[in-house]
């Protein structure tokens, strides 16, 4: 041992305390850096020297810089961040939908339905009133427009969600590439045996970001890299390699997520995608919106049918001089019943019949014919049956797009009644509402009021034609039947139309409320886990300042050692002179 060893101990101490201050400054500098784990210099004693008097300490040395990190809490936090992001995304998307169906505002569909039925009551009170007729048509139009806009908004949101999903998948691919890069850097950096603290923090941060986008599971390998998989199974990152996701829409317009694996191998992993923003976007787009849409369509379909059935049985103030059906068949030689082109083909009742009543130009009943819908009757058969039954009175024809058209001949006009076959309403003749001409499920989107009625409000059915062909103007029986629909359990699920609509709105409201409750609950869980994480990894400024003083004082003391050693040397040297 020598004085020089004091100097070397002091020099090592100075270095060690300086590293301590540097680590503290790194911690203070990163106090607000997200995902940063506080670090600490690890000081150990230098190996002791064997002296005749035994082992003598040889100062300090820096063993390394470690970070405070609890992988278990980090993993739990990662999972909960993913779930929270899932429900928060559901909530924000559902709140948009709920806004379209905001029944707490004025002029909502519920009110419009009430108004619509009430206007039929008003018409029943005064069946000859033209203002009442206009009001029925206007309310019908309002209902149609409201359902159109709801359906349109749902479809629009479905389309917009494709963009969100594209962004999600792009971000996922970027993040997985980034994680693979970080894996590479960490493995390289740690080859020397020292932990790559900051790189690991960055990687954990990237894993959390990825979790927000899609549900994942990950685990660390012996070489310091992490493997990342979709919750369902497909590997996204393995060591220094990453594989991308892509998507397209399938035949049902549903999102299909594919995994681009090694060697050009691809696989449909839609079922494996869950959680995170992507999971939420797909869930809203392909599960919730279609469900609301089909609820809406079922309601509108029943509304169209019930209203049209009553209208088609009735008569307004005047007969038709000509009319054309709104529903067409693609093949006029195919049976009408269950005709796939007719949205209400299943309602047609073979063996049933309907009656056509004919008035002359003075409004006197001159003829009538009852047409029976025989088994397997086609549109052409029906046309021929009408032509044969009322020659010189009514001419039936089929348009190029398969719709039935009827024309009164020689100034005759005609009306309908006693339809037990449902064929009149099913072909869209003498109907109130219209929808798409061919069978599909877009009832809410295409609901409209029959132009034959809006052009001539006198055609709105208020009464019925009696078996002698009389149709007095004061007859309000059909308007009363129509108004009765309000309280009849004829909507979807055996509910009234209002109840069915309220049910749908309730479903949307409850879904939104549930998502928001879940999101809030999970936000609390995430907060708690973040607190737990911060209690291990977070930087406390006061703690760092205390440590700063600690290292500063030690540094000062070590400096004192050097001056002391220097004095020792000087003492020795002065002995010589």
């Amino acid at each position: 041992m020598s004085i020089s060893s004091i100097l070397s101990i002091a020099a090592r101490a100075l270095l060690a305390e300086q590293v301590g201050v540097e680590v503290v400054s790194h911690n203070i500098a990163n106090v607000n850096t997200e995902g940063y784990s506080r670090q600490q210099v690890e000081l150990v004693t230098n190996p002791a020297l064997d002296m005749p008097w035994g082992q003598q300490g040889n100062g300090v040395k820096v063993a390394g810089i470690s970070r405070f990190f609890d992988p278990y809490i980090a993993l739990r936090l990662n999972q909960k961040i993913g779930s929270q992001s899932d429900y928060a995304t559901r909530q924000s998307e559902l709140e948009k939908i709920a806004e379209y169906f905001n029944e707490t505002e004025d002029n909502n569909i519920n009110d419009l339905l009430s108004q619509f039925w009430n206007s039929w009551q008003d018409l029943a009170d005064n069946p000859t009133g033209s203002a009442e007729r206009q009001s029925v048509l206007q309310n019908g139009q309002l209902i149609a427009e409201s359902f159109n806009s709801r359906a349109n908004e749902l479809m629009q949101q479905r389309m917009d969600l494709v963009n969100s999903i594209r962004t999600d998948i792009d971000s996922i691919n970027k993040l997985t590439a980034q994680i693979a890069d970080l894996n590479n850097e960490i493995m390289t950096a740690e080859a020397g045996g020292h932990a790559a603290n900051d790189l690991r923090d960055s990687r954990q941060q990237a894993l959390n970001e990825l979790s927000k986008l899609v549900g994942i599971s990950y685990f660390e390998m012996g070489d310091g890299s992490v493997n990342v998989m979709l919750e369902g199974g497909a590997t996204l990152v393995s060591g220094i390699e990453s594989w991308t996701l892509a998507f397209q829409t399938d035949a049902n317009d549903d999102i299909q997520v594919t995994w681009n694996g090694p060697n050009g191998y691809t696989k449909d992993v839609t079922d494996w995608v869950s959680g995170g923003q992507l999971g939420a976007h797909i869930y809203i787009r392909d599960d919730r919106i279609p469900s609301y849409m089909s609820g809406l369509n079922a309601l509108v379909k029943d509304l169209i049918w019930e209203v049209n059935s009553v209208q088609s049985q009735g008569v307004g103030l005047s007969y038709y001089s000509n009319t054309v059906g709104t529903y067409g068949v693609s093949d006029p030689t195919a049976a009408l019943k269950d005709n796939p082109a007719l949205p209400f083909g299943d309602k047609i009742n073979e063996g049933g019949e309907f009656t056509l009543y004919v008035d002359d130009s003075t409004g006197t009943a001159v003829a009538s014919a009852t047409i029976t819908i025989t088994v397997g009757m086609t549109l052409e058969d029906l046309r021929d049956a009408i032509d044969a039954a009322l020659p010189g009175y009514v001419d039936a024809d089929i348009t190029s797009d398969g719709r039935l058209t009827l024309t009164g001949l020689n100034s005759h006009s005609f009306g309908f009644g006693n339809d037990t076959s449902n064929v009149v309403a099913a072909l869209g003749i003498n109907t109130f509402f219209t929808s798409q001409t061919r069978n599909s499920d877009d009832f809410a989107y295409t609901l409209g009021v029959n132009e034959a009625l809006s052009a001539d409000p006198d055609k709105v059915a208020t009464g019925h034609i009696d078996i002698h062909g009389n149709h007095p103007r004061g007859d309000n029986s059909a308007a009363l039947d129509m108004a009765d629909l309000e309280n009849q359990a004829v909507g979807p699920g055996g509910m009234t139309f209002s109840e069915a609509y309220q049910d749908l709105v309730g479903e949307i409201g409850l879904d939104t409320e549930n998502a928001s409750q879940q999101a809030e609950f999970l936000a609390n869980v995430v907060d708690q886990l973040t607190q737990m994480r911060d209690s291990v990894s977070g930087v406390s400024l006061d703690e760092e300042l205390a440590a700063l003083i600690k290292y500063q004082r030690a540094f000062q003391a070590a400096s004192k050692l050097i001056t002391t050693a220097d004095e020792l040397y000087q003492t020795l040297l002065s002995m010589k002179t």
Binding site: T104, D111, T128
Partner: protein, 398 residues
């Protein structure tokens, strides 16, 4: 547990945000007056509110319907009251003229009075509201009674449930007598036209003629077998059934309405008839108890100075009067039902409005109290945050 700066900072931000959201919701509910402003704030209450709103709208509508009913019924009742008063005049006159103290001149003068009464009844019967005739059935655009000479009126066919006849029964001929009469034909054996047979009565079904066969126009007569020029023809498809009736009236007044009663909806399950068929109440062609025929016959009897027939007419007038009174009572009862319903709906609407208000309207007292609480909490959080976040070791380091 270690508490770090981010922990404190995050929890301050989170708590302030939570309080801010709460404040915003309370503020919105106060300013809009509605408890909920989105369907997800309380889906069940929102759904209940929608149900309440539907029912309130419906009751508003029933109240409107009841107003229509009320105006129809009170007008009809007043009309019958007037007709009843006019009839009393006719009865007083008939009573006087049935005694032997009056001579032919008196009776001729009285006949003119009866003629005026007859025309007045026609006018009264043609009562309308805004151009809608109350006693015409569904044919509200047509005045129910039209005055004319004594003539064979159109046949009125009333079919039994089993009858499938879709054709018509047509009356015709030129009436050769001076007394108004009602011929009642009744099908006695069913079948198509040409097969079905019927008999005829001219005294309301007390006595009957021999059977006739349905077919082209043929003279018909009652039990006395006297041909007074009335004919009846059947044409058309379907089978007549036993019990189908055809009424052919010889009357100075034609009933132009039909046999339907106009109804309005007064509750989810009930409809209320707001008129009565004119020919049943007052008469006109094919009416059951026909004021016009009786008055016409009274006039003729007075002109002919026929004291015995005048007494007979007095009896008929009494029958007619009791018929009018019966319908008047019927209208009164229906008006009462309307009043009862109106009251019931008024109180039901109050209850529903209160129910709606309870689920949908902001309770201002609770809301302002809540707002105060949240405000205090927010201020306290701000205060304590600034206090805690300001503490630092730095303040004590030189």
């Amino acid at each position: 547990m270690r508490v770090t700066l981010p922990t404190m900072y995050n929890s301050v931000v989170r708590d302030l945000q939570r309080l801010a959201v709460e404040m915003q919701q309370i503020n919105e509910s106060i300013s809009s007056g509605k408890k909920y402003n989105a369907i997800y704030q309380n889906p069940l209450d929102v759904q209940r509110a929608m149900g309440y709103q539907n029912n309130i709208d419906l009751i508003d509508q029933y109240q409107r319907n009841l107003q229509t009913a009320e105006s129809w019924l009170t007008n009809s009742e007043a009309t019958l009251q007037n007709i009843g008063d006019i009839l009393k005049e006719a009865m007083t006159l008939a009573e006087q003229m049935a005694t032997g103290t009056y001579d032919a001149d008196n009776r001729a003068a009285a006949a003119k009075q009866v003629r005026n009464i007859l025309e007045e009844v026609v006018q009264e019967g043609n009562v309308d509201i805004n151009g809608q005739y109350l006693l015409s059935g569904y044919k509200t655009d047509t005045p129910p009674f039209v005055w004319g000479n004594l003539a064979v009126q159109a046949a009125a066919l009333s079919q039994t449930a089993t009858s499938s006849f879709t054709g018509t029964a047509t009356s015709g001929g030129t009436y050769t007598d001076t007394t108004a009469r009602t011929y009642l034909a009744e099908v006695t054996s069913g079948g198509a036209v040409g097969t079905a047979r019927f008999r005829v009565s001219d005294d309301g079904g007390q006595t009957w003629s021999a059977e006739f066969t349905t077919g082209a126009a043929q003279a018909i007569w009652g039990n006395d077998g006297v041909d007074r020029g009335v004919t009846l023809a059947f044409a058309g498809a379907g089978d007549l059934a036993v019990g189908d009736r055809i009424v052919v009236q010889v009357s100075p007044v034609t009933y132009q309405g039909d046999d339907n009663t106009v109804e309005v909806a007064v509750s989810k399950t009930n409809r209320l008839a707001i008129n009565s068929v004119g020919r049943d109440v007052v008469g006109g062609s094919s009416g059951g108890v026909d004021i016009f025929q009786v008055l016409y016959n009274l006039q003729t009897a007075l002109e002919n100075n026929d004291q015995a027939t005048v007494s007979q007419c007095l009896e008929d007038l009494e029958a007619v009067n009791s018929n009018i009174l019966q319908y008047q009572g019927d209208f009164g009862a229906r008006s009462q039902r309307v009043t009862y319903k109106q009251n019931a709906y008024a109180s039901l609407k109050d209850r529903l409005t209160a129910g709606l208000s309870a689920v949908a309207d902001t309770d201002l007292i609770t809301a302002t109290t809540d707002l105060n609480l949240v405000q205090t909490a927010y201020e306290a959080a701000l205060y304590s945050s600034t206090q805690v976040l300001n503490l630092s070791l730095l303040d004590y380091m030189s």
